[in-house]
Symmetry: C2
Subunit: 630 residues, 2 copies
């Protein structure tokens, strides 16, 4: 790839900004669990509790939270997967597509020559030659899986999904409790222990995907499927109105710190190619995009000017950069478009409306649909996964589950089978806005028509009247549909419908969705999910305040909220809290209950012994006094 000559300067303070989010989370250490295959070392976060226990949790934050890792955003992250990709010997580097000025959505903003020279050098250092399958080859994880190959990625994922089970044993020792609480999978098939072979099998049958472009060797592999931990996606991206590249990279690091499993770069407007370069090279999580956005930029925003050639070129451009999954709105078919005419809110998907406009303008079938097999050829040369877009998703409760939505869903099911014919990994996007009582039908239809390909939903929002709080209105729907079998939940921030999320909005959206995903995991009975709740509850009950904070999804906020009422350090070891004060603590009283129960049990045992004596003595109520008259 040639060095682009118009990358804007990274701001002098970007690395400085990043140092803000390079601290490990409180009381946390990054540990690496080694696998059998070379180079497999799975990062986890180990939380040290004040009672000496270690609780290990899934960690999406990448090298940023490892103080030993040297990070330079101008160089990008270490390329964990390179050795695996090369060892497979089925791909090759090549010159790559010429980076065109149009890729960054505008005319070159000529500034001084010196700055451009600096950028050219930096970009050259950052970029690698792209890699693709050898002619006629197929480098998808699904392709390997179907040949019975367990890739290092699959082994990595198995270890990552299991987590360290040793510490959980103590919390799972009460078998009565385990029986009472065991989840209800609603059709999921989650094994007690995830083996590499199970990962392979799920990928082979299409029930899970591993988004892992061979041009994104920086990722720490992860999996999306209903029989694994529920994942969440965070969207970032600039837009024509606000935002800058630097903010976007910063948002990536911030997003994965709080738990985003994948990140979608939804940039439009200027510098989208270069933004994407910086994001991918610095991302340990899979990156998704909606290529039609960039294609539209290249035709000046005029949807009817889009062509297959322009779109195809964008796919190559982004596949070479390392995008791990593409949202492709191939189900927005010409015959479905009029079905949206009487909707309350028409077509609300950007991609969907662009393609609808194109179809109407030309009165032709959607070119993504007609060229779908050619798209598959590109996907399998890089291992880009499909995220088949729901361009006709409902934008309000009133439009939920209507014919337009479900017609498109059925088409996505057809397309899934075409993709699978090419061994291309595929997931299906879902709504949107759906009242609670209509959510199950979405999951049912998706499972039925899309053959258990992973479902990836946006919320859904259960009501429409909560702008400013749609992370909450949608977390309700997300938790429910996650339990029902959705594999990944696309977050919604408090700014949904209102504006672009800032740093805090991104965090609010992510935490709301970590809650939804975790609630889903517990409900569906993921064997490694509940122990953390047990650990935090035990800490809470034993007044180990710092442990309660550190085991929570957001230790900083938990601590800050506690300190608003009781700021002194002594309160963190106090056996009471601000809710009741020192005299009135229900948890304190419970210890007395335990003493009482123990005493009661001892008494009953005493009674039992007496009873045994009694029975041994003949079992007569009136025992004759020895020597007395009968």
């Amino acid at each position: 790839m040639n060095a682009p000559d118009h990358i804007p300067a990274p701001p002098a303070d970007l690395n400085q900004l990043l140092t803000l989010t390079r601290d490990p989370l409180p009381a946390s250490t990054k540990v690496y669990v080694p696998g059998a295959q070379a180079g497999v070392a799975v990062p986890m976060r180990e939380i040290a509790l004040t009672n000496g226990e270690q609780v290990t949790v899934y960690d999406t934050s990448g090298p940023y939270t490892d103080p030993k890792a040297a990070i330079d955003v101008r160089k990008g992250l270490p390329t964990v997967r390179s050795q695996w990709i090369e060892a497979r010997g089925d791909s090759e580097t090549y010159e790559g597509r010429l980076h065109h000025i149009l890729d960054d959505g505008g005319k070159l903003d000529e500034r001084d020559a010196e700055r451009i020279e600096v950028l050219r050098r930096e970009a050259a250092a950052l970029q690698r030659q792209p890699r693709r399958a050898k002619a006629g080859g197929n480098v998808t994880q699904m392709h390997y899986a179907r040949q019975g190959i367990i890739t290092p990625e699959m082994e990595y994922i198995a270890l990552r999904e299991n987590g360290k089970r040793e510490w959980m044993a103590e919390y799972q020792s009460d078998l009565n409790r385990e029986m009472r609480l065991k989840g209800n999978g609603l059709g999921a098939s989650i094994p007690k222990i995830i083996t590499p072979e199970f990962v392979r099998d799920e990928v082979a049958r299409g029930r899970a995907i591993i988004p892992a472009n061979i041009n994104h060797p920086e990722i720490e592999p992860m999996i999306i499927g209903r029989n694994f931990l529920t994942k969440i996606n965070a969207n970032i991206g600039n837009s024509a109105v606000t935002s800058s590249i630097e903010e976007e990279v910063e948002k990536l690091v911030w997003s994965i710190r709080w738990g985003a499993d994948t990140v979608m770069d939804l940039s439009t407007g200027k510098n989208i190619h270069t933004t994407r370069d910086w994001i991918i090279r610095n991302s340990p999580v899979p990156i998704g995009t909606v290529p039609i956005y960039q294609a539209l930029e290249k035709v000046g925003g005029i949807a009817e000017d889009l062509t297959w050639d322009i779109f195809r070129d964008v796919l190559i451009e982004q596949a070479e950069q390392g995008v791990d999954y593409f949202t492709i709105h191939a189900g927005v078919r010409l015959p479905y478009i009029h079905l949206t005419a009487n909707r309350r809110t028409g077509i609300v998907s950007r991609g969907g409306s662009i393609l609808a406009k194109w179809c109407i303008a030309h009165h032709k079938e959607n070119f993504l649909y007609t060229h779908f097999e050619e798209i598959c050829e590109i996907m399998k040369a890089y291992d880009v996964s499909f995220s088949l877009g729901d361009g006709l998703r409902p934008g309000s409760n009133d439009d939920a589950n209507d014919e337009a939505q479900f017609a498109e869903l059925r088409t996505l099911g057809e397309l899934t089978q075409i993709a699978w014919k090419h061994d291309v990994q595929t997931m299906i996007e879902g709504p949107g806005h759906v009242p609670m009582h209509m959510i199950q039908a979405n999951m049912d239809e998706q499972l039925k028509h899309c053959h258990e390909a992973p479902f990836y939903t946006l919320g859904p929002l259960t009501i429409d009247i909560a702008p400013g709080y749609d992370h909450i209105s949608s977390a309700i729907g997300a938790a429910m549909i996650g339990w029902m079998g959705t594999a990944m939940l696309c977050y919604v921030t408090p700014k949904e419908h209102l504006g672009l999320p800032d740093r805090n909005d991104v965090k609010q959206g992510i935490i709301a969705y970590k809650i939804a995903a975790h609630a889903a995991d517990i409900a569906k009975g993921h064997p490694g999910s509940r122990a953390r709740d047990s650990a935090i509850s035990k800490a809470r009950f034993e007044f180990r305040w710092m442990d309660q904070f550190n085991l929570s999804l957001d230790p900083d906020t938990a601590l800050a909220f506690h300190d608003e009422t009781l700021p002194k350090d002594s309160s963190k070891v106090a056996h009471f809290c601000s809710m009741c004060g020192p005299k009135f603590c229900s948890m304190k009283i419970t210890q007395e209950v335990r003493d009482y129960a123990a005493q009661k049990e001892a008494q009953e045992q005493g009674m039992a012994e007496k009873s045994a004596e009694f029975m041994a003595g003949g079992g007569e109520i009136y025992v004759p006094v020895p020597g007395a008259k009968a």
Copy 2:
């Protein structure tokens, strides 16, 4: 009631503080819908849209949001219900219990004599003589209902629950859509129109309650039952550690502004009697309390020193003040206490742990259980409703649905039947911490054992690892259990488990619970619930930004969030938003879809006409050219 001589001074700036929250919500006007019975005038909030429509919504905010209402917190609110209570002729005023210094939980903090004199005068102006049923009488709404009497309260509630249906008609005109979206009541029986007779019938059979102490004539009557709108409760209250009376009254006004249907005053520590006076006299919503808290204060915090006489005296004290419902933990029975010994988090209910301690210390049955019929006698003399407390509710996922919890629930069912024998209105409290897949069992057990008495749950929290965000982790459970049939949802604030909620936390908790309750109403198919969503979606689609904000649950936040990205006034009428920018708007494209669909329809009509012509012409494919050879 004698004037207490130790009420602390209301702060000079209290009324000033209140003026902050006396503004009507944006674009809103208070309207009153008159009923047939004298004095029935039901307040509603009418939102004026920019397109000339009026949308009317349920309004809990009381006279505070009516600019025409003169408010003086030292005098209390107008007594809407007095005329109705007096007209029934079955109650009488009496001298009342002597207000004792112990009622305020401490020694008199002697300051200057002048200040005490001012307070004495103010308190005398505020207080009324208490009222109770004439000897042997029963003044409960249930008692009237069972005699076939439709009280003004019942008519008021019918009008209030219906809302103004006129404006909804336009949004409900698409019958296909209405069929597709109709709720799933899961056993609820919600009529299209709530009649006063329906209200009476639901109260008579115990499936709904109207908390309305005859000493709280200030309330705007409301109902709690699964066949009505789902209600929410907000907790306020001082504690030994922080807070002041003034803050509590301020929180009341703030709570009802955002939609609290009832408020529980959970004060402990100093000045709880006086705090309660100020709150009740200024509250248009029912007030609930947990009398055991005050009883414990009176015995210096020593649970084992509690006696029936002390507790009974507290019930009279609070009933005379006008408390509308009492949480009574009569189900914490001695034989159940040891069942909590092996729990992860023991007993977490304050009331539950106090009574457990008492039972253990005396090795006696809970005195609330043994004196339950005497409590009923008090309840029916004032029309205080029972909220039968779940003192053994789970405090963590690990303890959900265990034997301790369900043993207590079955006892609450027995007690419900005793209460109903006395025509005392009763609801049942529920958990707490419950994973999603175990929520339905809670509703099933409650319905089965408590004979459809309204269920009133705290959340439930679906996971334990989200301190700082438990309004969200619990809103998920609350929405689900609300759909399943829970009548009232007790809010949880972000500070749960961490500290005392401040003004903003209270608002966050309320909005999260308004979302949950509204999601439940839509799912269960409440006929008046969905139109507001339709109206806001239409406004959103038509770029009526101000209407979108004003129709939302929190217009201030929606506007502020929008303005963070696009602050200019012109953006509020712009046909684009910050998410996509001006060139890229999906909603704009939809208009073109509509034009296309119309054109398509016209074409098809044209085709149909042609087809009709064709058939009329004989239906031959090859029409002989007139004059040509055959």
